[in-house]
């Protein structure tokens, strides 16, 4: 498996910009040239390898939408960052009617409409998750509304949002059929493509691999043609997706399935919700010993952009600094070498050993009807694990008590008491929405038990 991974990562210099990659003598010298572009074989679109994900927009008063869900999106900042992105060659912007409590499309539309329509590609989705939007009419209305919010009359890349999921009542096939087939909406979207209102039709996939395979089979049979497919890919998911969660599929499998068919891949979660940007000290050390001047996130971005046939790598860049850093990473891409690939596989092996919750803070599970702040609980727990802040050594050790105090105080500071894990009743309304297939109530109960045990000592 490792050998195959390496093999794919060396076959990469198909894109012309890679020819200009500087030879690295010692330290990292990214950002010396132009943004790397990849060409979509279906439409001929020349797409920037770095795509802008509009899911984690900044809010007024600072911070991200995830931490301040009641704050207003900081449109001024969004405009500035979109301007910077366009100036530096980014031309792919990915949004959805569901992002940021439904406000992402509007914000994206406001920022992009200030520029010529032919200077960027818009990707949005048919996010008909709620039963109230399963009907043909409601799904059509959702598409029409996307055009209105985005202030355009065509969508460059339209995705069936998050296929492969299920609900408490419907399995993944039933849910897929209900959302896209029984109501005839997929056929309607194909018509829209013929009419030029959609330029590329694809889907984003999480969850049950049966659905993924079925859709690619349809592609092979000529039943439906997929212009692109969005998958989760990073150096952890490459080989260890199913170790993290048995319901997930390794990115290697997904990538190879697409690549063998010549379907361009759009990459989401290159950082696994930021987790690959905040790693335990001992892992950070290994990375920095190799490249002292590279942020640890750069390894993940380079990995995601390296395989051939990847159209663009989406990054939800909340802050200008993230944007600038990523522009440097991809201007041009310095592909991951065979030796570096082996190094990252070893790092992945170490990360998989940590008791983390594979949450990417996408907020699809929210709002929890019982008031919990699910992503914040997971984020706090994960950061405590990766930063080595969990109490260790047992009650006899002095450091244990210090760490216990910090952990418990920090828990109260990060999550208000009424939104903590002990209020999870296990109704399981959240879990079907989770693209990572996390058994959310089970994980919350695990964290609650841990906190309770700490408190009782």
């Amino acid at each position: 498996m490792g050998g195959a991974a390496v093999a794919t990562s060396v076959v990469l210099s198909a894109c012309k910009n890679n020819d200009e990659s500087p030879v690295i003598a010692k330290n990292v010298i990214d950002g010396q040239g132009e943004m790397t572009y990849r060409t979509n074989p279906n439409s001929g679109d020349k797409v920037s390898l770095l795509g802008y994900g509009m899911m984690r927009l900044p809010v007024e008063g600072g911070g991200t939408f995830r931490d301040h869900p009641d704050a207003n999106i900081d449109q001024e900042m969004v405009n500035e960052q979109v301007d910077y992105a366009l100036e530096h060659g980014i031309n792919y912007f990915d949004t959805s009617p569901a992002y940021c409590k439904g406000l992402s499309e509007r914000s994206t539309g406001i920022a992009l409409s200030r520029h010529p329509r032919n200077s960027y590609y818009i990707a949005t989705k048919l996010s008909n998750f709620s039963p109230s939007t399963w009907s043909r009419e409601a799904s059509q209305a959702m598409f029409e509304n996307s055009l209105k919010e985005l202030q355009t009359d065509y969508i460059d890349y339209l995705l069936l949002h998050s296929i492969g999921g299920n609900t408490n009542d419907l399995d993944s096939h039933q849910l897929f059929n209900t959302r896209f087939i029984d109501n005839g909406i997929l056929d309607w979207l194909v018509e829209q493509k013929k009419a030029g209102r959609i330029r590329n039709l694809g889907f984003s996939y999480h969850g049950d691999v049966d659905i993924f395979d079925m859709l690619l089979q349809w592609h092979d049979e000529g039943k439906y043609h997929w212009d692109f497919v969005q998958i989760e890919l990073n150096y952890l998911d490459w080989k260890y997706a199913d170790e993290l969660n048995t319901r997930n599929t390794d990115a290697k499998y997904l990538y190879e399935a697409l690549h063998s068919r010549g379907i361009p891949g759009v990459i989401m979660e290159p950082l696994l919700g930021g987790r690959l940007a905040s790693l335990p000290d001992h892992i950070v050390k290994q990375m920095q010993e190799r490249e002292p001047e590279s942020p640890v996130a750069r390894w993940a971005f380079r990995f995601a952009g390296t395989p051939e046939g990847i159209l663009t790598v989406l990054s939800g860049m909340t802050y200008m600094e993230h944007l600038k850093q990523n522009v440097v990473t991809y201007s041009p891409l310095r592909p991951i070498s065979e030796e570096e690939n082996a190094f990252l596989m070893k790092i992945a092996e170490e990360i998989v050993e940590l008791p983390l919750v594979p949450c990417t803070a996408c907020n699809y599970c929210m709002p929890c009807p019982y008031g919990l702040n699910i992503p914040a609980i997971f984020a706090y727990y994960n950061s405590s694990v990766t930063e080595g802040k969990m109490p260790t050594g047992g009650p006899e050790a002095k450091e244990y008590w210090e760490a216990r105090k910090r952990f418990l105080i920090g828990y109260d500071r990060n999550i208000p008491a009424l939104r903590q894990a002990n209020h999870c009743i296990g109704c399981n309304q959240c879990a079907p929405h989770c693209p990572q297939n996390i058994e959310i109530p089970k994980q919350l109960h695990r964290i609650d038990d841990y906190v309770e045990q700490l408190k009782q000592i």
Partner: protein, 488 residues
Amino acid sequence: MLRKIRICLQVVMMTLVTLLLLHIGFEVHNWAAWVAKIQFLPALMALNFGVLAVLIVCALLFGRMYCSVVCPLGIMQDIFSWIGGKVKKNRFSYAKENKWLRYGFFAVFAILLIIGFAPVTTLFAPYSAYGRIVNSLFKPLYDLLNNWLAGMDAANDRYNFTEVQVWTRSVTTFVVALLTLIILGGLAIWKGRIYCNSICPVGTTLSFFSRFSLFKVRFDESKCKHCGMCEKNCKAQAIDFKNGKVDYSRCVVCGDCLDKCKFDALHYTAKKPVAASKPVDTERRAFLVGAAVAGTSAALAQTQMKVDGGLAVIEDKVAPKRETPLTPPGSISAKHMQRHCTACQLCVSSCPNNVLRPSTDLMHFMQPTMSFERGYCRPECTMCSHVCPAGAIKPITREEKTSIHLGHAVWVKENCVVLTDGVTCGNCARHCPTGAIQMIDYEGPNGTVQVPAIDENKCIGCGACENLCPARPFSAIYVEGNEMHHIS
């Protein structure tokens, strides 16, 4: 000299009592708890005869020094009186003792204390009155300061201060505390220690002994020039300079008169007993209790179409009506609590889980009661049992706590989300520290569901189920008190 010693002791005592009542941490309790234990009424309630004997012996030796350096309410009045003295100098004059008010009130108080009628005893216990002032008026300010420091801490990734909830535990008690402060402060500015010498039951009790004290403030007739400065500066209004007499039943041995006498005509000595002047009338004053109704707040729940992010609105919990009030583990029974508690609020201040609050019920007026809207009686905590100076809550260990059944949980079918929202739950069962709740099959209108069943034998009444029940504003499971705590 006597005055200087008195002021030094007052500063020390006031600081310790206030820090203790603010409950700035259990560490304070480790070295300051004794200041509460030596208070007269709590010691009496705790039947702590050793302390009582020492206090009485002290009164027999030194007079009512207790009222000057031990009682925090007395010290508080001295602060107001001192402020009054800055505005108007030499403002006091001798007044006769108001015997009817003083002894009449004392008799009523004693009877109510014996029959265990709490409202009056708790209202007039001086240490407890100060406890309520600290708990209701100063503690919120301290908590705000603490939260500000916690905010600074959080910003700097430090962990010295934890944010706490700032809330009024009982509006009635808040009003009582505020009125106590205003009325006693006003009286102290106007007439010095008039409250201590006409109403305060502890003052009256000690006066029986102080009349016969060994050390007394005595006139040296040969040196006295009858200038009257001693009388004009006696906040107890106990000096009758014209007759060269001091009412030792009211003198609180503050030493002000000694310092004011320019002719060295007053001495605090054990020399040759001089006949005390006969007690005479004083003016009377009593204070009233206001009442207020506690308000409840409720927030509107909202439903949304499925889009990502956001937080659901959480409605505040509302306390259920309990047939039998809940008293903390260690308090034996509501009756024991009623008979021993002086309502000083120390336990309320110290409760880290926001469970204890003063009762508004007349028979348990301002005495602590439990409720679980903001937290529950956590298994590892026995704080209140260790801070109580009056023996109303007896010290217990963590292990003992698990065997004290202060109440029992009751399921309210109508509120249970399993039936109202059609979801699976079981949060009560999952959090019960004694495993007293099991989820059992139940034939609901939409088929078989799992609902909680309570084993009352195992339930200790900690309120984890009530607090963590997702039903709002009224929980679907709540704790009903046991008349007397069951010990298993």
